[in-house]
Amino acid sequence: MPARIRPLLVPACLAGATAAAFCLGLAMGAHWVDPVDVVRALAGSGDRFALLTVNELRLPRALVGLLAGAAFGVAGAVFQTVTRNPLASPDMIGISAGAAVAVVAGIVLGIDPAGLGLAGGLLAALVVYLLAWNQGTTGYRIILVGVGVTWVCTSTTSWLLTKAELYQAQQAVGWLVGNLGDSTWQDVPALAVSAAVLVPGVLLLGGWLRTLQLGDEIATGLGTPVQRARLVLLLAGVGLVAFATAAAGPIAFIALASPQIARRLAGAAAPPVLASGLTGALVVLAADLLARQVQLPVGVVTGVFGAPFLMWLLIRKNRYA
Protein backbone atom coordinates (compact mmCIF):
# COMPACT_ATOMS: atom_id res chain seq x y z
CA MET A 1 0.00 0.00 0.00
CA PRO A 2 1.74 3.18 -1.21
CA ALA A 3 0.05 5.34 1.45
CA ARG A 4 1.84 3.36 4.14
CA ILE A 5 5.20 3.07 2.41
CA ARG A 6 5.55 6.80 1.65
CA PRO A 7 6.27 7.96 5.23
CA LEU A 8 9.18 5.51 5.34
CA LEU A 9 10.34 5.83 1.74
CA VAL A 10 10.67 9.63 1.78
CA PRO A 11 13.09 9.82 4.75
CA ALA A 12 15.06 6.87 3.33
CA CYS A 13 15.52 8.61 -0.03
CA LEU A 14 16.37 11.90 1.70
CA ALA A 15 18.93 10.16 3.89
CA GLY A 16 20.51 8.58 0.80
CA ALA A 17 20.67 11.92 -1.03
CA THR A 18 22.09 13.64 2.08
CA ALA A 19 24.79 10.97 2.42
CA ALA A 20 25.67 11.43 -1.25
CA ALA A 21 25.89 15.23 -0.87
CA PHE A 22 28.00 14.79 2.26
CA CYS A 23 30.49 12.47 0.49
CA LEU A 24 30.57 14.70 -2.58
CA GLY A 25 31.40 17.60 -0.26
CA LEU A 26 34.43 15.67 0.97
CA ALA A 27 35.60 14.81 -2.54
CA MET A 28 34.93 18.13 -4.26
CA GLY A 29 36.85 21.34 -3.86
CA ALA A 30 39.90 23.08 -5.24
CA HIS A 31 41.37 19.59 -5.73
CA TRP A 32 39.31 16.50 -6.49
CA VAL A 33 39.94 13.65 -4.08
CA ASP A 34 38.84 10.25 -5.36
CA PRO A 35 36.03 8.64 -3.30
CA VAL A 36 38.35 5.69 -2.56
CA ASP A 37 40.93 8.09 -1.12
CA VAL A 38 38.18 9.92 0.82
CA VAL A 39 37.20 6.66 2.52
CA ARG A 40 40.84 5.82 3.21
CA ALA A 41 41.48 9.29 4.65
CA LEU A 42 38.44 8.95 6.90
CA ALA A 43 39.84 5.63 8.10
CA GLY A 44 43.08 7.44 8.91
CA SER A 45 45.30 6.10 6.15
CA GLY A 46 46.40 7.39 2.75
CA ASP A 47 48.70 10.20 1.71
CA ARG A 48 49.23 13.31 3.78
CA PHE A 49 47.63 15.61 1.25
CA ALA A 50 44.35 13.65 1.24
CA LEU A 51 44.43 13.35 5.03
CA LEU A 52 44.81 17.11 5.42
CA THR A 53 42.21 18.15 2.82
CA VAL A 54 39.57 15.62 3.79
CA ASN A 55 39.95 15.34 7.55
CA GLU A 56 41.04 18.85 8.48
CA LEU A 57 39.46 21.09 5.84
CA ARG A 58 36.45 19.42 4.29
CA LEU A 59 35.12 17.11 7.02
CA PRO A 60 34.40 19.85 9.60
CA ARG A 61 32.77 21.96 6.88
CA ALA A 62 30.56 19.05 5.78
CA LEU A 63 29.71 18.12 9.38
CA VAL A 64 28.73 21.69 10.29
CA GLY A 65 26.62 21.89 7.12
CA LEU A 66 24.95 18.54 7.88
CA LEU A 67 24.22 19.27 11.53
CA ALA A 68 23.25 22.93 11.13
CA GLY A 69 20.96 22.11 8.20
CA ALA A 70 19.30 19.32 10.18
CA ALA A 71 18.94 21.58 13.23
CA PHE A 72 17.35 24.39 11.18
CA GLY A 73 15.00 21.92 9.47
CA VAL A 74 13.84 20.29 12.72
CA ALA A 75 13.46 23.67 14.48
CA GLY A 76 11.44 25.00 11.55
CA ALA A 77 9.14 21.95 11.66
CA VAL A 78 8.61 22.43 15.42
CA PHE A 79 7.83 26.15 15.16
CA GLN A 80 5.54 25.79 12.15
CA THR A 81 3.63 22.94 13.79
CA VAL A 82 3.27 24.47 17.23
CA THR A 83 2.13 27.82 15.84
CA ARG A 84 0.11 26.17 13.05
CA ASN A 85 1.57 28.78 10.73
CA PRO A 86 3.97 27.93 7.87
CA LEU A 87 5.49 31.43 8.06
CA ALA A 88 6.28 31.30 11.78
CA SER A 89 9.66 29.63 11.41
CA PRO A 90 12.51 30.74 13.69
CA ASP A 91 14.23 32.70 10.93
CA MET A 92 11.05 34.67 10.23
CA ILE A 93 10.08 35.60 13.79
CA GLY A 94 13.37 36.93 15.08
CA ILE A 95 14.89 33.89 16.83
CA SER A 96 17.76 33.60 14.34
CA ALA A 97 18.21 37.39 14.36
CA GLY A 98 18.37 37.34 18.17
CA ALA A 99 21.00 34.61 18.11
CA ALA A 100 22.87 36.52 15.39
CA VAL A 101 23.05 39.83 17.26
CA ALA A 102 24.40 38.02 20.33
CA VAL A 103 27.03 36.20 18.29
CA VAL A 104 28.12 39.44 16.61
CA ALA A 105 28.33 41.07 20.02
CA GLY A 106 30.52 38.14 21.05
CA ILE A 107 32.83 38.60 18.05
CA VAL A 108 33.09 42.36 18.68
CA LEU A 109 33.62 42.00 22.42
CA GLY A 110 35.81 38.90 22.09
CA ILE A 111 33.55 36.45 23.98
CA ASP A 112 32.92 32.82 22.93
CA PRO A 113 29.85 33.07 20.66
CA ALA A 114 28.26 29.60 21.16
CA GLY A 115 26.74 30.31 24.58
CA LEU A 116 25.85 33.86 23.57
CA GLY A 117 23.90 32.59 20.55
CA LEU A 118 21.71 30.53 22.86
CA ALA A 119 21.14 33.50 25.18
CA GLY A 120 20.26 35.79 22.27
CA GLY A 121 17.89 33.27 20.72
CA LEU A 122 16.16 32.66 24.04
CA LEU A 123 15.82 36.38 24.72
CA ALA A 124 14.30 37.01 21.28
CA ALA A 125 11.94 34.06 21.79
CA LEU A 126 10.90 35.42 25.18
CA VAL A 127 10.15 38.86 23.72
CA VAL A 128 8.10 37.33 20.89
CA TYR A 129 6.32 35.11 23.40
CA LEU A 130 5.40 37.97 25.72
CA LEU A 131 4.21 40.25 22.91
CA ALA A 132 2.41 37.76 20.69
CA TRP A 133 1.51 34.60 22.52
CA ASN A 134 -1.01 35.58 25.15
CA GLN A 135 -3.70 36.08 22.52
CA GLY A 136 -3.11 32.74 20.83
CA THR A 137 -0.35 31.61 18.54
CA THR A 138 -1.93 31.51 15.13
CA GLY A 139 -2.49 34.25 12.60
CA TYR A 140 -0.35 37.13 11.51
CA ARG A 141 0.22 38.64 14.95
CA ILE A 142 3.24 36.45 15.65
CA ILE A 143 4.70 37.28 12.22
CA LEU A 144 4.31 41.03 12.76
CA VAL A 145 5.87 40.89 16.23
CA GLY A 146 8.62 38.67 14.81
CA VAL A 147 9.34 41.13 12.02
CA GLY A 148 9.61 43.89 14.64
CA VAL A 149 12.00 41.85 16.78
CA THR A 150 14.04 40.99 13.68
CA TRP A 151 14.40 44.71 12.86
CA VAL A 152 15.49 45.61 16.37
CA CYS A 153 18.10 42.84 16.26
CA THR A 154 19.27 43.74 12.75
CA SER A 155 19.76 47.41 13.58
CA THR A 156 21.57 46.50 16.80
CA THR A 157 23.82 44.22 14.74
CA SER A 158 24.56 47.08 12.31
CA TRP A 159 25.33 49.41 15.20
CA LEU A 160 27.70 46.83 16.71
CA LEU A 161 29.46 46.54 13.35
CA THR A 162 30.06 50.30 13.17
CA LYS A 163 31.71 50.07 16.59
CA ALA A 164 33.86 47.07 15.69
CA GLU A 165 37.48 46.95 14.55
CA LEU A 166 37.80 46.33 10.83
CA TYR A 167 39.02 42.73 11.17
CA GLN A 168 36.19 41.97 13.62
CA ALA A 169 33.60 43.52 11.31
CA GLN A 170 34.95 41.48 8.41
CA GLN A 171 34.71 38.27 10.44
CA ALA A 172 31.21 39.15 11.62
CA VAL A 173 29.86 40.07 8.19
CA GLY A 174 31.35 36.93 6.67
CA TRP A 175 29.56 34.92 9.34
CA LEU A 176 26.28 36.89 9.15
CA VAL A 177 25.42 35.77 5.61
CA GLY A 178 25.72 32.13 6.63
CA ASN A 179 29.06 30.66 5.73
CA LEU A 180 30.56 27.18 5.96
CA GLY A 181 33.87 28.19 4.39
CA ASP A 182 35.48 29.05 7.72
CA SER A 183 34.21 25.99 9.59
CA THR A 184 36.81 24.17 11.67
CA TRP A 185 36.74 21.29 14.11
CA GLN A 186 36.21 23.91 16.85
CA ASP A 187 32.67 24.52 15.56
CA VAL A 188 31.65 20.87 15.67
CA PRO A 189 31.41 19.70 19.34
CA ALA A 190 28.79 22.15 20.71
CA LEU A 191 26.67 21.77 17.58
CA ALA A 192 26.98 17.98 17.56
CA VAL A 193 26.05 17.62 21.23
CA SER A 194 23.03 19.95 20.93
CA ALA A 195 21.78 18.11 17.83
CA ALA A 196 22.40 14.70 19.41
CA VAL A 197 20.26 15.67 22.41
CA LEU A 198 17.57 17.88 20.90
CA VAL A 199 16.76 16.12 17.61
CA PRO A 200 15.92 12.72 19.21
CA GLY A 201 14.15 14.66 21.98
CA VAL A 202 11.86 16.35 19.47
CA LEU A 203 11.28 13.04 17.68
CA LEU A 204 10.18 11.44 20.95
CA LEU A 205 7.74 14.30 21.55
CA GLY A 206 6.13 13.74 18.14
CA GLY A 207 2.88 12.74 19.86
CA TRP A 208 2.56 16.26 21.28
CA LEU A 209 3.19 17.77 17.85
CA ARG A 210 0.45 15.59 16.36
CA THR A 211 -2.18 16.73 18.88
CA LEU A 212 -1.09 20.39 18.93
CA GLN A 213 -1.74 20.54 15.18
CA LEU A 214 -5.45 20.11 15.90
CA GLY A 215 -5.68 23.24 18.06
CA ASP A 216 -5.15 23.91 21.75
CA GLU A 217 -8.62 22.80 22.84
CA ILE A 218 -8.62 19.50 20.97
CA ALA A 219 -5.04 18.87 22.14
CA THR A 220 -6.12 19.42 25.76
CA GLY A 221 -9.06 17.09 25.21
CA LEU A 222 -6.64 14.45 23.95
CA GLY A 223 -4.59 14.73 27.12
CA THR A 224 -1.73 16.97 25.97
CA PRO A 225 -0.50 19.40 28.64
CA VAL A 226 -0.66 22.23 26.07
CA GLN A 227 1.28 24.98 27.87
CA ARG A 228 4.09 22.70 28.97
CA ALA A 229 4.26 20.88 25.63
CA ARG A 230 4.49 24.14 23.72
CA LEU A 231 7.16 25.53 26.05
CA VAL A 232 9.32 22.39 25.91
CA LEU A 233 9.05 22.06 22.13
CA LEU A 234 9.76 25.73 21.45
CA LEU A 235 12.73 25.73 23.84
CA ALA A 236 14.13 22.73 21.99
CA GLY A 237 13.60 24.59 18.71
CA VAL A 238 15.31 27.73 20.04
CA GLY A 239 18.23 25.62 21.27
CA LEU A 240 18.66 23.97 17.86
CA VAL A 241 18.55 27.32 16.04
CA ALA A 242 20.91 29.01 18.49
CA PHE A 243 23.67 26.38 18.29
CA ALA A 244 23.32 26.02 14.51
CA THR A 245 23.45 29.80 14.10
CA ALA A 246 26.51 30.10 16.34
CA ALA A 247 28.33 27.49 14.24
CA ALA A 248 27.24 28.30 10.69
CA GLY A 249 25.62 31.73 10.78
CA PRO A 250 21.95 32.40 10.12
CA ILE A 251 21.75 30.50 6.80
CA ALA A 252 18.74 32.04 5.10
CA PHE A 253 15.43 30.25 4.55
CA ILE A 254 16.48 26.72 5.63
CA ALA A 255 14.21 26.69 8.68
CA LEU A 256 11.37 28.21 6.65
CA ALA A 257 11.63 26.12 3.51
CA SER A 258 12.83 22.65 4.57
CA PRO A 259 9.71 21.71 6.58
CA GLN A 260 7.45 22.85 3.74
CA ILE A 261 9.46 20.90 1.16
CA ALA A 262 9.46 17.83 3.43
CA ARG A 263 5.72 18.16 4.03
CA ARG A 264 5.01 18.11 0.31
CA LEU A 265 7.42 15.24 -0.36
CA ALA A 266 5.84 13.16 2.39
CA GLY A 267 2.30 14.15 1.42
CA ALA A 268 1.62 14.96 5.06
CA ALA A 269 -0.67 17.51 6.70
CA ALA A 270 2.10 18.98 8.83
CA PRO A 271 5.89 19.00 8.49
CA PRO A 272 7.29 15.58 9.43
CA VAL A 273 10.16 16.15 11.89
CA LEU A 274 12.66 13.59 10.61
CA ALA A 275 12.12 14.40 6.93
CA SER A 276 12.36 18.15 7.68
CA GLY A 277 15.73 17.66 9.36
CA LEU A 278 17.02 15.53 6.48
CA THR A 279 15.73 18.07 3.95
CA GLY A 280 17.48 20.88 5.84
CA ALA A 281 20.76 18.96 5.84
CA LEU A 282 20.42 18.06 2.16
CA VAL A 283 19.58 21.63 1.08
CA VAL A 284 22.49 23.14 3.04
CA LEU A 285 25.00 20.55 1.75
CA ALA A 286 23.76 20.87 -1.84
CA ALA A 287 23.74 24.68 -1.65
CA ASP A 288 27.27 24.58 -0.25
CA LEU A 289 28.44 22.41 -3.16
CA LEU A 290 27.02 25.05 -5.50
CA ALA A 291 28.42 27.88 -3.39
CA ARG A 292 31.92 26.46 -3.68
CA GLN A 293 31.67 26.44 -7.49
CA VAL A 294 30.79 30.16 -7.62
CA GLN A 295 32.94 31.23 -4.64
CA LEU A 296 30.03 32.55 -2.57
CA PRO A 297 28.95 31.89 1.02
CA VAL A 298 26.24 29.23 1.29
CA GLY A 299 23.78 31.75 2.77
CA VAL A 300 23.81 33.76 -0.46
CA VAL A 301 22.88 30.66 -2.46
CA THR A 302 20.04 29.65 -0.13
CA GLY A 303 18.86 33.28 -0.08
CA VAL A 304 18.68 33.45 -3.88
CA PHE A 305 16.55 30.31 -4.02
CA GLY A 306 14.70 30.97 -0.78
CA ALA A 307 13.25 34.38 -1.62
CA PRO A 308 11.04 33.17 -4.48
CA PHE A 309 9.98 30.25 -2.30
CA LEU A 310 8.88 32.65 0.44
CA MET A 311 6.84 34.67 -2.07
CA TRP A 312 5.17 31.52 -3.33
CA LEU A 313 4.32 30.54 0.26
CA LEU A 314 2.89 34.01 0.99
CA ILE A 315 0.70 33.90 -2.12
CA ARG A 316 -0.58 30.43 -1.22
CA LYS A 317 -1.22 31.42 2.39
CA ASN A 318 -3.21 34.45 1.32
CA ARG A 319 -5.27 32.40 -1.05
CA TYR A 320 -6.17 29.61 1.36
CA ALA A 321 -5.99 31.11 4.84
Binding site: G207, T211, Q213, L214, E217, L222, G223, P225, A268, A270
Partner: protein, 266 residues
Amino acid sequence: MPELRATGVRLAYHNNMVVVDDLDLTVPDGRISVIVGANASGKSTLLRALARLLIPRAGSVHLDGRSIHEMPTRQVATQVGILPQGPVAPEGLTVGDLVGRGRAPHQRWWHQWSATDEHEVAEALRLTGLTDLARRPVDELSGGQRQRAWIAMAIAQGTPILLLDEPTTYLDLAHQIDVLDLIVDLNRREGRTVVMVLHDLNQACRYADHMIAMRSGRIVAEGGPAEVITAELVEEVFGLRCRVIADPVAGTPLVLPVGRHVVEPG
Protein backbone atom coordinates in the same frame (compact mmCIF):
# COMPACT_ATOMS: atom_id res chain seq x y z
CA MET B 1 -19.16 5.23 35.24
CA PRO B 2 -17.09 8.20 36.39
CA GLU B 3 -19.06 11.04 37.92
CA LEU B 4 -18.57 14.58 36.62
CA ARG B 5 -19.68 17.29 39.02
CA ALA B 6 -19.32 21.06 39.25
CA THR B 7 -19.56 22.65 42.69
CA GLY B 8 -19.98 26.38 43.28
CA VAL B 9 -18.08 27.29 40.11
CA ARG B 10 -17.45 30.89 39.14
CA LEU B 11 -16.33 31.26 35.54
CA ALA B 12 -14.85 34.30 33.87
CA TYR B 13 -12.77 35.08 30.78
CA HIS B 14 -9.68 37.27 30.46
CA ASN B 15 -11.64 40.51 30.83
CA ASN B 16 -12.68 39.36 34.33
CA MET B 17 -16.37 39.62 33.46
CA VAL B 18 -18.03 36.84 35.45
CA VAL B 19 -20.14 34.72 33.09
CA VAL B 20 -21.21 31.99 35.49
CA ASP B 21 -21.36 32.33 39.27
CA ASP B 22 -21.88 29.83 42.09
CA LEU B 23 -23.21 27.07 39.86
CA ASP B 24 -23.73 23.45 40.91
CA LEU B 25 -24.27 20.63 38.44
CA THR B 26 -24.00 16.87 38.57
CA VAL B 27 -23.93 15.29 35.14
CA PRO B 28 -26.46 12.42 35.08
CA ASP B 29 -24.78 9.10 34.44
CA GLY B 30 -25.30 7.29 31.14
CA ARG B 31 -27.76 9.81 29.79
CA ILE B 32 -27.85 12.61 27.22
CA SER B 33 -27.91 16.01 28.87
CA VAL B 34 -28.52 19.10 26.77
CA ILE B 35 -27.70 22.61 27.92
CA VAL B 36 -29.97 25.29 26.43
CA GLY B 37 -30.16 29.03 26.90
CA ALA B 38 -30.03 32.33 25.05
CA ASN B 39 -26.80 33.68 23.60
CA ALA B 40 -24.35 34.74 26.34
CA SER B 41 -26.24 32.73 28.97
CA GLY B 42 -22.99 30.92 29.81
CA LYS B 43 -23.88 27.50 28.39
CA SER B 44 -20.72 27.04 26.30
CA THR B 45 -18.67 28.49 29.16
CA LEU B 46 -20.08 25.87 31.51
CA LEU B 47 -19.30 23.10 29.04
CA ARG B 48 -15.74 24.40 28.66
CA ALA B 49 -15.32 24.33 32.44
CA LEU B 50 -16.57 20.72 32.57
CA ALA B 51 -14.01 19.96 29.85
CA ARG B 52 -11.20 21.63 31.92
CA LEU B 53 -10.62 24.14 29.08
CA LEU B 54 -11.47 26.93 31.52
CA ILE B 55 -10.21 27.05 35.09
CA PRO B 56 -12.91 28.19 37.55
CA ARG B 57 -12.16 31.37 39.53
CA ALA B 58 -13.95 29.77 42.46
CA GLY B 59 -15.42 26.35 43.16
CA SER B 60 -14.29 23.23 41.37
CA VAL B 61 -15.07 20.55 38.81
CA HIS B 62 -14.59 17.00 40.06
CA LEU B 63 -14.26 13.75 38.17
CA ASP B 64 -14.91 10.84 40.52
CA GLY B 65 -14.16 13.05 43.49
CA ARG B 66 -10.87 14.43 42.13
CA SER B 67 -10.40 17.95 40.81
CA ILE B 68 -9.96 17.72 37.03
CA HIS B 69 -7.55 20.65 37.10
CA GLU B 70 -5.25 18.80 39.49
CA MET B 71 -5.45 15.41 37.76
CA PRO B 72 -2.90 14.70 35.02
CA THR B 73 -4.57 15.93 31.85
CA ARG B 74 -3.86 12.62 30.09
CA GLN B 75 -5.73 10.75 32.82
CA VAL B 76 -8.76 13.02 32.36
CA ALA B 77 -8.50 12.37 28.61
CA THR B 78 -9.16 8.66 29.15
CA GLN B 79 -12.46 9.53 30.90
CA VAL B 80 -13.74 12.71 29.22
CA GLY B 81 -13.74 13.39 25.46
CA ILE B 82 -14.48 16.86 24.15
CA LEU B 83 -15.44 18.37 20.83
CA PRO B 84 -15.27 22.18 20.80
CA GLN B 85 -17.16 24.38 18.38
CA GLY B 86 -15.90 24.57 14.80
CA PRO B 87 -12.62 22.63 15.01
CA VAL B 88 -10.28 23.09 12.03
CA ALA B 89 -8.17 20.23 10.67
CA PRO B 90 -4.79 21.04 9.11
CA GLU B 91 -4.89 21.11 5.33
CA GLY B 92 -4.42 17.64 3.86
CA LEU B 93 -4.97 15.64 7.06
CA THR B 94 -6.78 12.43 6.19
CA VAL B 95 -9.89 11.19 7.99
CA GLY B 96 -8.09 8.03 9.13
CA ASP B 97 -5.19 10.06 10.51
CA LEU B 98 -7.52 12.44 12.36
CA VAL B 99 -9.51 9.60 13.92
CA GLY B 100 -6.24 7.85 14.83
CA ARG B 101 -5.18 10.88 16.84
CA GLY B 102 -8.12 10.23 19.13
CA ARG B 103 -6.02 7.37 20.48
CA ALA B 104 -3.36 9.79 21.78
CA PRO B 105 -4.30 9.43 25.48
CA HIS B 106 -3.72 5.67 25.24
CA GLN B 107 -0.26 5.95 23.71
CA ARG B 108 3.20 6.51 25.14
CA TRP B 109 6.42 7.32 23.35
CA TRP B 110 7.61 3.78 23.93
CA HIS B 111 4.26 2.31 22.94
CA GLN B 112 2.98 4.07 19.87
CA TRP B 113 0.31 2.06 18.05
CA SER B 114 -1.38 -1.15 19.20
CA ALA B 115 -3.90 -3.60 17.81
CA THR B 116 -6.47 -2.09 20.20
CA ASP B 117 -5.86 1.33 18.64
CA GLU B 118 -6.33 -0.16 15.17
CA HIS B 119 -9.58 -1.81 16.25
CA GLU B 120 -11.00 1.27 17.99
CA VAL B 121 -10.26 3.48 14.97
CA ALA B 122 -11.87 0.99 12.55
CA GLU B 123 -14.91 0.79 14.85
CA ALA B 124 -15.21 4.60 15.09
CA LEU B 125 -15.03 4.88 11.29
CA ARG B 126 -17.67 2.18 10.90
CA LEU B 127 -20.06 3.78 13.42
CA THR B 128 -19.82 7.13 11.65
CA GLY B 129 -20.05 5.58 8.17
CA LEU B 130 -16.66 6.96 7.17
CA THR B 131 -14.79 3.71 6.49
CA ASP B 132 -14.71 4.36 2.73
CA LEU B 133 -13.53 7.94 3.23
CA ALA B 134 -10.63 7.11 5.58
CA ARG B 135 -7.99 8.07 3.00
CA ARG B 136 -9.65 11.37 2.01
CA PRO B 137 -8.41 14.71 3.40
CA VAL B 138 -10.79 16.14 6.00
CA ASP B 139 -10.82 19.57 4.34
CA GLU B 140 -12.21 18.07 1.12
CA LEU B 141 -15.27 16.57 2.84
CA SER B 142 -18.74 18.11 3.06
CA GLY B 143 -19.69 19.87 6.30
CA GLY B 144 -21.72 16.91 7.56
CA GLN B 145 -18.98 14.38 6.78
CA ARG B 146 -16.39 16.63 8.39
CA GLN B 147 -18.37 16.89 11.62
CA ARG B 148 -18.79 13.11 11.63
CA ALA B 149 -15.01 12.76 11.24
CA TRP B 150 -14.43 14.88 14.35
CA ILE B 151 -17.05 12.88 16.25
CA ALA B 152 -15.32 9.70 15.07
CA MET B 153 -12.11 11.04 16.62
CA ALA B 154 -13.92 11.58 19.91
CA ILE B 155 -15.41 8.06 19.66
CA ALA B 156 -11.98 6.53 19.05
CA GLN B 157 -10.79 8.22 22.22
CA GLY B 158 -13.07 5.71 23.95
CA THR B 159 -14.14 7.87 26.89
CA PRO B 160 -17.23 7.09 28.99
CA ILE B 161 -18.12 10.81 28.98
CA LEU B 162 -18.46 12.96 25.84
CA LEU B 163 -18.83 16.76 25.88
CA LEU B 164 -19.98 18.37 22.61
CA ASP B 165 -20.33 22.10 22.00
CA GLU B 166 -23.01 22.74 19.36
CA PRO B 167 -22.17 19.68 17.25
CA THR B 168 -24.80 20.62 14.64
CA THR B 169 -23.70 24.19 13.86
CA TYR B 170 -23.28 24.97 10.14
CA LEU B 171 -25.01 21.74 9.11
CA ASP B 172 -28.20 21.54 7.07
CA LEU B 173 -31.25 20.03 8.76
CA ALA B 174 -30.81 16.49 7.41
CA HIS B 175 -27.18 16.41 8.56
CA GLN B 176 -28.11 17.89 11.94
CA ILE B 177 -30.50 14.99 12.53
CA ASP B 178 -27.89 12.57 11.20
CA VAL B 179 -25.32 13.79 13.76
CA LEU B 180 -27.83 13.81 16.64
CA ASP B 181 -28.98 10.26 15.79
CA LEU B 182 -25.35 9.19 15.83
CA ILE B 183 -24.96 10.67 19.31
CA VAL B 184 -28.03 8.78 20.49
CA ASP B 185 -26.52 5.57 19.05
CA LEU B 186 -23.39 6.16 21.12
CA ASN B 187 -25.46 6.69 24.22
CA ARG B 188 -27.86 3.78 23.77
CA ARG B 189 -25.47 1.17 22.41
CA GLU B 190 -22.33 1.97 24.35
CA GLY B 191 -23.83 3.65 27.38
CA ARG B 192 -21.73 6.76 27.02
CA THR B 193 -22.70 9.82 29.03
CA VAL B 194 -23.21 12.80 26.73
CA VAL B 195 -23.40 16.49 27.58
CA MET B 196 -23.99 18.87 24.70
CA VAL B 197 -24.92 22.44 24.03
CA LEU B 198 -27.66 22.84 21.41
CA HIS B 199 -29.17 26.01 19.96
CA ASP B 200 -32.38 24.53 18.65
CA LEU B 201 -34.88 24.09 21.48
CA ASN B 202 -37.03 21.56 19.64
CA GLN B 203 -34.05 19.38 18.79
CA ALA B 204 -32.96 19.67 22.42
CA CYS B 205 -36.40 18.48 23.56
CA ARG B 206 -36.31 15.59 21.11
CA TYR B 207 -32.83 14.34 21.93
CA ALA B 208 -32.32 15.17 25.61
CA ASP B 209 -32.93 12.78 28.48
CA HIS B 210 -32.05 15.63 30.77
CA MET B 211 -32.42 19.37 30.04
CA ILE B 212 -30.42 22.13 31.67
CA ALA B 213 -31.88 25.59 30.98
CA MET B 214 -29.53 28.51 31.68
CA ARG B 215 -30.03 32.23 31.92
CA SER B 216 -27.44 34.87 32.89
CA GLY B 217 -24.99 32.25 34.12
CA ARG B 218 -27.45 30.42 36.36
CA ILE B 219 -29.33 27.15 35.93
CA VAL B 220 -33.00 28.13 35.85
CA ALA B 221 -34.47 24.65 35.49
CA GLU B 222 -33.22 21.11 35.19
CA GLY B 223 -34.95 17.80 34.48
CA GLY B 224 -36.75 15.86 31.76
CA PRO B 225 -37.74 17.96 28.72
CA ALA B 226 -41.45 17.55 29.42
CA GLU B 227 -41.08 18.97 32.94
CA VAL B 228 -38.64 21.72 32.07
CA ILE B 229 -39.95 23.14 28.81
CA THR B 230 -43.09 25.17 29.44
CA ALA B 231 -44.26 28.38 27.81
CA GLU B 232 -43.43 30.27 31.02
CA LEU B 233 -39.90 28.91 31.18
CA VAL B 234 -39.17 29.66 27.53
CA GLU B 235 -40.38 33.22 28.07
CA GLU B 236 -38.19 33.54 31.17
CA VAL B 237 -35.07 31.98 29.64
CA PHE B 238 -35.24 33.24 26.07
CA GLY B 239 -37.58 36.22 26.43
CA LEU B 240 -39.74 34.57 23.76
CA ARG B 241 -43.51 34.35 23.82
CA CYS B 242 -44.51 30.89 22.63
CA ARG B 243 -46.83 27.99 22.92
CA VAL B 244 -45.65 24.50 23.80
CA ILE B 245 -47.47 21.49 22.33
CA ALA B 246 -46.68 17.80 22.12
CA ASP B 247 -44.48 16.98 19.14
CA PRO B 248 -46.77 14.85 16.89
CA VAL B 249 -43.78 12.70 15.87
CA ALA B 250 -42.10 11.92 19.18
CA GLY B 251 -44.43 13.26 21.85
CA THR B 252 -41.70 15.49 23.30
CA PRO B 253 -42.41 19.22 23.85
CA LEU B 254 -42.53 21.33 20.69
CA VAL B 255 -41.97 25.04 21.06
CA LEU B 256 -43.91 27.27 18.68
CA PRO B 257 -42.82 30.91 18.84
CA VAL B 258 -45.60 33.49 18.65
CA GLY B 259 -43.74 36.52 17.36
CA ARG B 260 -45.32 39.95 16.87
CA HIS B 261 -47.15 39.55 13.56
CA VAL B 262 -49.27 36.45 14.08
CA VAL B 263 -53.02 36.81 14.39
CA GLU B 264 -53.96 33.90 16.59
CA PRO B 265 -57.12 32.05 15.45
CA GLY B 266 -59.96 31.82 17.97
